[in-house]
C-alpha cells in the first residue's frame, strides 16, 4: 500500500514544470518587461468599483455579495454596479496603472448593514476562487477570530489553485485575516512614490512594502484623492503580480514571492563565490 498522494509523483504521472532562472539573477526585464497584464483576471474585493472613472476604465465583471439565510453558506452573488465609498475604485485605479490590460473584476462585499460582513467578505473570496481569478486584491481584512479557520481554508484553496491573494495588513498593528497567513502576499505602505518600487520585509507578517503614504488615487465621481493607508499599497503589488503573471502564466504563488524577493529594493545579490555552508 502506498501512502496517499504518492501516486502523483510516479514517473509518467508527474508533469514537467519550468524552473526559475536561478543560474542568473532574476531581472525586472525577465519578470515583467514588455508585459501589460493581458489575459490575467484580477478581482478587487472591496466597496465596489466605478468603471466610469478614467483611471479605471472597463471592468470585465462586477458582482456584490449579499446575505441570504436560504443560500449556501448564507450569501448570494448578484450583479452590481458602482462603488459605495471610493475605496475599491482607488485600488482598481492603482492596479490599472501598473497592469493596463488586466481584466478587472469588482467584488463588492460592503453593504448598508454590517451584520454578516465577515460572511460577505469570505463569500467574495470564495467567488473569486471559484471563478478562477489569477490575482485577488483585498485591501480589507477582519479582526474577528471566529473567521480565522474559514479564511485560512480559503487561502489554502487559493494557494493550491495558483491564485495569488494580495492583502493589505491593517493600518494599526494587530492580527487580521487573511493578511496574517503565510501563503498570502501581505502588504504595508512605505513612503516612496515609485509605483514599481517595493521592499521585502524579512520579519513578517507584512512581507512587502509598496507606495501607500500620501499617494494620489482615483476616488468617487471621477475625482482623485491624496490618501495614506496600507490599502493603497496592496494594489501596487497586485498590479505587479498581474503584469508578471501575464508574461509567466504558470508561476505559482511561492515562485512569484521568490521573484518579488529577488527584485525588492532592499535585497542585494549575494557576492560572487558565496555559498550556503553545509
Amino acid at each position: 500500500m502506498k501512502p496517499a498522494w504518492s501516486s502523483h509523483f510516479e514517473p509518467g504521472t508527474l508533469p514537467d514544470v519550468t524552473a526559475l532562472p536561478l543560474d542568473a539573477p532574476i531581472s525586472r526585464s525577465w519578470a515583467w518587461g514588455g508585459a501589460t497584464g493581458a489575459g490575467v483576471r484580477v478581482a478587487v474585493i472591496d466597496s465596489g468599483v466605478d468603471p466610469a472613472h478614467p483611471a479605471v476604465g472597463r471592468l470585465a465583471g462586477a458582482v456584490a455579495i449579499e446575505l441570504d439565510a436560504d443560500a449556501p453558506q448564507g450569501v448570494r452573488v448578484v450583479p452590481a454596479e458602482g462603488d459605495m465609498f471610493g475605496h475599491g475604485t482607488a485600488c482598481a485605479g492603482v492596479i490599472r496603472s501598473i497592469a493596463p490590460d488586466a481584466e478587472l473584476y469588482s467584488v463588492r462585499v460592503l453593504g448598508r448593514n454590517l451584520k454578516g460582513r465577515g460572511s460577505a467578505f469570505a463569500g467574495g473570496l470564495r467567488w473569486a476562487i471559484e471563478q478562477g481569478m489569477h490575482v485577488v486584491n483585498m485591501s480589507l481584512s477582519t479582526r474577528k477570530r471566529d473567521y480565522f479557520a474559514l479564511f485560512h481554508e480559503l487561502a489554502d484553496e487559493a494557494y493550491f489553485r495558483n491564485i495569488m491573494l494580495v492583502c493589505a495588513v491593517d493600518n494599526v498593528q494587530g492580527p487580521t485575516y487573511p493578511s496574517q497567513y503565510s501563503s498570502v502576499f501581505s502588504v504595508a505602505a512605505h513612503s516612496r512614490d515609485d509605483p514599481f518600487g517595493f521592499d521585502y520585509n524579512p520579519s513578517p507578517p507584512a512581507e512587502f512594502g509598496a507606495p501607500g503614504i500620501d499617494v494620489e488615487v482615483a476616488w468617487l465621481d471621477g475625482s482623485t484623492l491624496r490618501a495614506t493607508g496600507n490599502s493603497f499599497a496592496a494594489p501596487h503589488i497586485a498590479g505587479l503580480l498581474a503584469r508578471i503573471r501575464s508574461k509567466h502564466r504558470e508561476l505559482t504563488p511561492f515562485q512569484a514571492k521568490t521573484v518579488l524577493h529577488a527584485l525588492a529594493g532592499n535585497v542585494t545579490a549575494p557576492s560572487p563565490g558565496a555559498s550556503v555552508e553545509e
Binding site: 459605495m84 471610493g86 492580527p175
Partner: protein, 246 residues
C-alpha cells in the same frame, strides 16, 4: 424565629423588582466610561475634539454616544456614510489631512453640529469578537505628528477602549439574561430551561452567554465528579486559547 420565606415567593419578588426596573436596566450605563475615553483622547492628541459613536443593534447606523464637543451626541450616521461609516465598514483606521477633498466626509453632519474640521483621524472600536463603533479625533494638534503616527497612536488607544466597552456590555447582558430567567422561574419553569429560553430569544446579541449560563445551570444538577470533569474540560480549552498567538 420567623418562618423562612418560600423560595418561589422570593423569586416572584425578584421578578417584580426586575419588571419595575425595566428599561433602567435595558442598556448598559457606560456613560462614565465613554466620557473618560473621549476626554483622554482629546488630550492625547491636543485635538479640537474627540467623539465615540457606537453601532446600533441592527448595525445599520452609528450613534454618537459621547464627545468632548457634546453637540454631536445623539446624532445618527448610516454605516454607508461618512469617514466613521467607512472605518467601521472596512475595519480600517483612517487619517484624512484635508476633509474638504474627501467625498466620504459627511460635511452636512459636521455643519449641523456647528463645527467643520480640517483634518480627522478615525479608528474602529473593535475586538477579536466584534466591531463596536468608531472613535474620532478632530483637528489633532501639530505636535501629534504626521498622519501615519496619529493612526498608530489612535489605533493603539482604541483597542483597550473597545475591550472596556465590550466587557461592560457582557457583564450587563449576563445580568439581564439571568434576571429574565428569574421571571420565568417564578412562573414555574426550571432554571436551566428558562436560561435556554433567554438564550434563544430572537435578536438577543449576547445569546451565546445566556446559553453558557444555561449549561452551567444544568451542570449544577449533576454530582461533584461530573461538575469537576466539566471544569477540567473548560480549563483545558482556556489553556489552549491562551496559548494561541495574537
Amino acid at each position: 424565629m420567623p418562618d423562612r420565606p418560600d423560595p418561589v415567593d422570593v423569586l416572584r419578588e425578584l421578578a417584580t423588582l426586575a419588571d419595575q426596573l425595566g428599561g433602567a436596566i435595558g442598556a448598559p450605563d457606560d456613560g462614565e466610561l465613554l466620557g473618560a475615553a473621549v476626554t483622554a483622547g482629546r488630550a492625547m492628541f491636543d485635538a479640537r475634539s474627540c467623539s465615540i459613536a457606537l453601532l446600533d443593534d441592527d448595525q445599520e447606523e452609528l450613534v454618537y454616544r459621547a464627545a468632548t464637543d457634546e453637540a454631536i451626541v445623539g446624532v445618527r450616521l448610516p454605516v454607508s456614510r461618512g469617514i466613521a461609516g467607512w472605518v467601521v465598514s472596512a475595519g480600517q483606521a483612517t487619517a484624512v489631512d484635508d476633509v474638504a477633498r474627501d467625498p466620504r466626509f459627511a460635511r452636512d453632519v459636521a455643519e449641523s453640529v456647528g463645527y467643520v474640521p480640517t483634518s480627522i483621524v478615525v479608528a474602529p472600536l473593535q475586538t477579536a469578537r466584534d466591531v463596536l463603533g468608531a472613535i474620532s479625533v478632530l483637528d489633532p494638534g501639530e505636535g501629534s505628528g504626521p498622519s501615519a503616527r496619529r493612526l498608530d497612536q489612535l489605533g493603539a488607544y482604541a483597542e483597550p477602549v473597545a475591550l472596556a466597552i465590550e466587557s461592560s456590555r457582557r457583564f450587563w447582558d449576563v445580568g439581564r439574561a439571568l434576571l429574565a430567567s428569574v421571571e420565568a422561574v417564578a412562573d414555574g419553569e426550571e432554571l436551566h430551561a428558562a436560561l435556554r429560553a433567554a438564550a434563544d430569544r430572537p435578536g438577543d446579541p449576547r445569546a451565546d452567554l445566556a446559553a453558557m449560563a444555561a449549561q452551567l445551570a444544568e451542570l449544577g444538577g449533576y454530582g461533584p465528579p461530573e461538575r469537576q470533569a466539566a471544569g477540567d474540560l473548560i480549563e483545558a480549552f482556556l489553556v489552549y486559547l491562551r496559548s494561541r498567538p495574537g
